[in-house]
Amino acid sequence: MNRVAITGVGLVSALGENVEKSWSNALAGRCCIDRLEDPGAPPYKFQYGAEAREYRAECHFSEKDLITLERFAQMQTVSGREAIAQSGIEFLDELQDRTAIVTGSSVGGQFSEEEGYRRLYRENNPRVAPLTIPRTMANAGASRLSLEFGIRGPTYTISTACSSSNHAIGQAFWMVRNGQVLAALAGGSEAVFAEGLLRAWEAMRVVSTEPCRPFSLDRRGLSLGEGAGMLVLEDWQHARARGARILGEIIGFGMSSDAHHLTQPAVQGPERAMRWALEDAGIGAAQVDYINAHGTGTPANDVMEAEAVHKVFRGDDKVPLVSSTKSMHGHTLGAAGAIEAVLTVLSLQHGVIPPTVNFTRPDPACDLDVVPNCARQADIEIAISNTFAFGGLNATLVFKRAG
């Protein structure tokens, strides 16, 4: 089996329009969940969200490009370009065929879809925009990157709600590890601030009326966010041979299904995903130093996740440090795993753990050190990142510091 190096990362989120700005805000513990630009009419029951305000489409794309590219696909492309630029990888000759692109997205091009329905049902106009289909397809970002960089290997998109990106990165990791491809772009993207989708989340009653406070006793739900993350994964030898700078390594991936309930989480599913990820990595629980938690801030998720963590790490001297960066960039649904993977790689690289902000007081049912409110220097070598989706689908990635 080949080792899998991470040679580039890209990020667009409420924290910033690129990796550097996002990381600096994450370390500063800045909550970028703010009042929604459009409060809705009548106003949404929740008025906070993590909008990627620095991101400007016109700075990255021509007007012609924007005809075919929805916001989520744009952000996926921009994060992909950043990751590729950092990696210095050039897709020439054989590498074009031996590179994969695997992305995650839960809802795809929601804006174009809603615009089509608006025309059809509100304006009684049956002439829906002709590019609605290619704009809304969840693989639009993956396909754009394939076209832009001439990448001709396995290219596809996974949609498993909030686990989409971890499933995508995990699949890409396995393809590189097994030698099916030499490199892969892996990540995910989501643009959630479309009226119909926000109304649907409102009706689910899981969105907090204030910025989310994961693991805090007074937490009242999640905060929605938008953004994209991308990693360049590369066969270790290939990366070394071309003199690439290796930022980190993916060493394991585990997934499971709760088979319990459509929306209520269960401890056993996440527990199994974490255990299988560690087994896939060939490491023991005691070797894990940091967990980038799913940590949505809903009463149910955080208690369940804390219990699952205690089950996996029980009997060890230490339960790893845990933080939920969603407290700063919101819950980006299908992009969550990708954005959090990038932040986890940076944590290992810099030896600093981004905090769980908005934390007021501990919940005895979530007995973890959640690195409250302030980033913490820590000598961390191995970290895991969890995502758990509606539908009971869990996916955990294991990362290792470069070296």
């Binding site: 009706a203 689910m204 009653r205 009242r220 309930h261 459509l262 929306t263 209520q264």
Partner: protein, 95 residues
């Protein structure tokens, strides 16, 4: 008593909404049932609350939802919210 009759009317009305939402025969639901007994879970609950809001033209806040663990508690909660709505409409500042 008129109060009871009103409650009963409201009770059967709420039961009808629950039955319709859950695709259950109304006579399988009693005012004394808890939602656990009816195998109605939190996801079903979201659906029921949404239907009740539509039916009675009220907003059922999360705090009220948390007190509704049985059909009776739901009926009482709705009765309270309807009364609040009425008194808000009758108050001089309203409208």
């Amino acid at each position: 008593m008129p109060g009871n009759a009103e409650t009963n009317d409201l009770g059967s009305h709420v039961i009808r909404v629950i039955a319709q939402t859950q695709r259950m025969p109304p006579n399988s639901i009693s005012i004394d049932n808890t939602f656990d007994e009816l195998k109605i879970d939190s996801l079903d609950g979201i659906n029921i609350v949404f239907a009740l809001e539509n039916e009675f033209g009220i907003n059922i806040p999360d705090e009220s939802v948390q007190t509704m663990k049985s059909v009776r508690e739901t009926v009482e909660g709705i009765q309270r919210l309807l009364a609040e709505k009425q008194s808000a409409a009758a108050s001089p500042g309203a409208g």
